[in-house]
């Protein structure tokens, strides 16, 4: 579904992503693992169109989307949940969700139905729907960002470090939810530092190090390989 | 170190050479209009280089610059209008000021000092602001200065034209002052302070983390800039002999700013080059306006074309070459670079 070939991304003179190739098939949950600074978030932002590739190619459903703008990518069906957990802090929970459905704004009834669906998925959001998003806890904000992404009715969900900085019980909830989402048939690309958790839900995995993909394979293979921690430590 | 000195001396020498050439051509041609244009050009070099020492080093746009030019012009006028003319030129003058007098040259420099002192007194709080707020308050400062000039008739003769300044400004004098301004501005830029100021320009947060007192650094740059503006104002006052407050407002600001932006605010070379280019373009366009007006091709007077052209050029330069024509390397650096390359 997503096909990335020989991707290069630069910040000025620094090559953050070097010659990365990666693919995600329909209905799959693929995870990208790696230490801080491995280029995972850069990869996600580039797919979402927020960063420009310096070289290589990204296709989605057979269409070349390498140079597409962020607003185009959502239209094509790719929803991004950034690591920075970008809720709009001054907007209420409901306003955040409405904005997630920006593309479908003329379909009022459909948006209302979607909104009910995500509130069922995340009952906490229903409780806090008229609260400003900035006042939510970290876990709730993470739920909101995911819920908001779902409001655009995506084919592919890009999840960047959803467990970052959350309490262990909340992390468990988030992964439980990812499992549920996968069951609905949506395609997911998941970036994580919490490799153990990610590999439990993923079908396949890529490991990145200093901007390059160093290992790839099925989730079981990667989980079984003994040098995983070595890769993390940069060994 | 001596090598560094060399590089900067080269810059100053090249730019002064340009001024010297202007003076020579002016004497060779010996046409009054040309001399007038050349003199105005040198005064504008003082003004633009002055603006560069604040704006180029700190990255903050200042609208107040022209206000300080006015301060210099009025100060110098107060000190030099001959006693027998004071009654007419400044009918409301405070009695205690009637005795003030200085030689024109001294008065011009005192005008710079008064401008610098006023800048020092009012601007410190403004230097804490950044970005938009800093620019807007400098704009407010220009309005304050303008309002005062416009209404303090005891000292400025109010909105009416103030006349009677001895016309002592000659081309050689302005060229010398312009050369001095270039040297001072370059010395400031390459001094410890100038380097600190540029550090705050490039990354304010990092500069603060390094312990640089940003407001103080900016403040000192602002004072230097006001000093040069004041001197430029005095020179101009003694060149035209009479003026009113509206000479020191947005139209003039726009021209000075245009020269700096087109030349390149980051370098003295750019500032000087900007003055030359814009002056040349302006004078040709003005000639065109005059021709159009005398040929009566249009029903009304053709005015404002020069400003419109300058405005479009500024937008074009900022869009295509944001750092101006000479963005980072002074001419001295370029020459040294060339020599090195040749030596291989």
């Amino acid at each position: 579904m997503i096909e990335i070939t020989n991707l290069d991304v630069r910040y000025g003179a620094i090559r953050a992503i070097k010659d990365v190739s990666l693919n995600v098939q329909q209905g799959e949950l693929v995870t990208v693992l790696g230490a801080n600074g491995a280029g995972k978030s850069t990869l996600m932002l580039t797919i979402a169109g927020a960063l420009k590739a310096a070289g290589g190619k990204i296709t989605f459903d057979g269409r070349d989307v390498t140079a597409a703008t962020p607003e185009k990518m959502v239209r094509y069906g790719i929803a991004m949940v950034p690591e920075t957990r970008d809720v709009f802090p001054d907007l209420t929970v409901v306003e955040n969700l409405r904005l997630g459905a920006y593309l479908h704004r003329s379909d009022k009834a459909g948006v209302m139905a979607d909104m009910e669906k995500v509130k069922d998925l995340f009952p906490r959001l229903r409780e806090r729907e008229i609260q400003a998003a900035g006042t939510l806890s970290g876990g709730e904000q993470q739920m909101l960002v995911i819920a908001r992404a779902l409001m655009s009715r995506p084919k592919v969900l890009l999840l960047d470090e959803p467990s970052l900085g959350l309490a262990p019980t909340v992390v468990d909830q988030i992964f439980e939810m990812i499992r549920e989402l996968k069951a609905t048939g949506i395609t997911i690309l998941l970036v994580e530092q919490n490799a153990t958790k990610a590999l439990q839900v993923a079908d396949r995995a890529y490991v990145m190090q200093l901007g390059e993909v160093v290992v790839q394979g099925s989730a079981e293979e990667i989980a079984g390989s003994s040098d995983l921690s070595a890769l993390y430590l940069g060994g | 170190m001596s090598f560094l000195m060399n590089r900067h001396t080269l810059t100053v020498a090249s730019l002064c050479g340009l001024l010297l050439m202007l003076v020579f051509i002016s004497y060779a041609v010996d046409v009054r209009v040309f001399t007038r244009i050349a003199t105005t050009l040198c005064i504008n070099v003082v003004m633009v280089v002055g603006l560069q020492s604040f704006m180029g080093n700190t990255g903050i746009l200042s609208f107040a610059h022209i206000g300080f030019m006015g301060v210099g012009a009025y100060t110098s006028a107060l000190l030099t209008i001959p006693a027998q003319m004071r009654g007419m030129a400044l009918p409301d003058l405070y009695p205690f000021m009637e005795g003030l007098s200085a030689s024109p040259i001294l008065a011009i420099f005192l005008g710079g000092i008064v401008a610098a002192v006023i800048a020092a007194a009012v601007s410190y709080p403004l230097m804490r602001l950044s970005d938009a707020a800093a620019v807007i308050t400098s704009f407010a400062l220009l309005v304050v200065l303008h309002t005062v000039m416009l209404h303090w008739s005891e000292v400025t003769n109010g909105p009416r034209t103030l006349f009677g300044l001895p016309a002592i400004t000659s081309l050689p004098l302005t060229a010398i002052v312009a050369a001095g301004a270039i040297a001072v501005a370059l010395m400031f830029k390459e001094s410890r302070l100038g380097i600190l100021a540029r550090a705050t320009r490039d990354d304010e947060t990092a500069a603060r983390a390094m312990g640089i007192n940003t407001p103080r650094v900016r403040w000192l740059a602002f004072i230097l800039s006001a000093l040069l503006a004041g001197i430029g104002g005095g020179l101009w006052g003694h060149f035209v002999g009479s003026f009113s407050p509206k000479a020191f407002y947005l139209k003039e600001t726009f021209v000075i700013l245009g020269m700096l932006v087109i030349g390149g605010p980051g370098t003295i070379t750019g500032a000087v080059l900007g003055v030359f280019i814009v002056t040349a373009a302006f004078e040709s366009l003005r000639t065109l306006e005059v021709v159009l007006n005398s040929a009566q091709i249009f029903s009304g007077q053709v005015v404002g074309v020069t400003e419109i052209v300058l405005a479009f050029s500024m937008i074009a330069v900022l869009a295509l070459r944001p750092g101006g024509l000479v963005p980072t390397r002074e001419i001295g650096d370029a020459i040294v670079g060339l020599i090195r390359k040749r030596k291989g």
């Binding site: 979402a48 927020a50 962020p70 607003e71 959502v74 239209r75 929803a79 950034p82 709009f88 802090p89 001054d90 907007l91 306003e95 955040n96 409405r98 904005l99 920006y102 593309l103 908001r148 655009s152 | 704006m55 990255g59 903050i60 746009l61 709080p125 403004l126 602001l129 970005d131 938009a132 707020a133 620019v135 807007i136 308050t137 407010a140 309005v143 304050v144 309002t147 005062v148 209404h151 303090w152 947005l250 726009f254 700013l257 245009g258 932006v261 009304g300 053709v302 005015v303 404002g304 074309v305 400003e307 419109i308 300058l310 405005a311 479009f312 500024m314 937008i315 900022l318 869009a319 944001p322």
Partner: protein
Amino acid sequence: MTELIQFVIDVLALGGAYALMALGLVIVYGILKLVNFAYGELIMVAGYTLFLMDGTGLPWLVMAAVAVLMSIFFGVATDYVAFRPVRAKSVTAVLITSFAFSTILQNAALLFISPRARNIPLPDVFSTTVTIGGAVTPLRNLLTIAATIVMLTLFTWLMRRSILGIAMRAAATNFTMARMLGVPANLIISSAFAISGLLAGVVSLFWLGRIGSVVPGIGLEPLLVAFIATVIGGMRSVPGAVLGGFLLALIDTSLNHILPQDLLKFRDAFTFSFVILILLWKPDGLIKGPASGQRT
């Protein structure tokens, strides 16, 4: 008592116009973090539009509507001429290009119309006065207050209820994220400039109505007012802009009453010195805006 009523009406009418002007500046600044120096010229554009339509025999309200439309048009044009070519470069660059655009508009007026003041058509209601509680006041003042209330209500409704308004508020804090939800950047920016033009256009009717004529330099004072009000209120805060507008009007009107005649001519100098004092105390303005977003 009469004097108090008079004073309150003056402050509210002046403050309303100031607040709407400031709002138009903040709406663009909030989203782009860039200042529009050509904003005052929208008043000039509206004024010359009225002047050019004088004698066409159209009803005044139609002429006013066309003037507001022209203000909106030139507001959006500012984006294309001054902002887009240099966007994302720096605050300074955009200030200079918008200053340049302002010069272009002013000199175009100078060149094609006249450097001298031109009278504009005004309806009779603008010159009638009414008596409220013993205070005699121009009806125009009450109309300004009414227009302020209508515009502020409309603005609030737009920002709170419409999806475009929500998107604009979102873009003001995090433009990239808003785009990643499918909100088109250009639509948001153009809308901000259009709203800015609408506000300036509406203000222009009352501003020009007070003076009765238009000159090329007419935009300077409203621009300054908007600048100062936003700096006092907090550059990125919408309530701050409104508060700043009314506060500035309060300062101006009070100075009109307090200052002796020979100092009154220095009123602007006093006002701006006062503003500098406020900034000494609160460098970010009175109301902090929404969480900061990076420039796009």
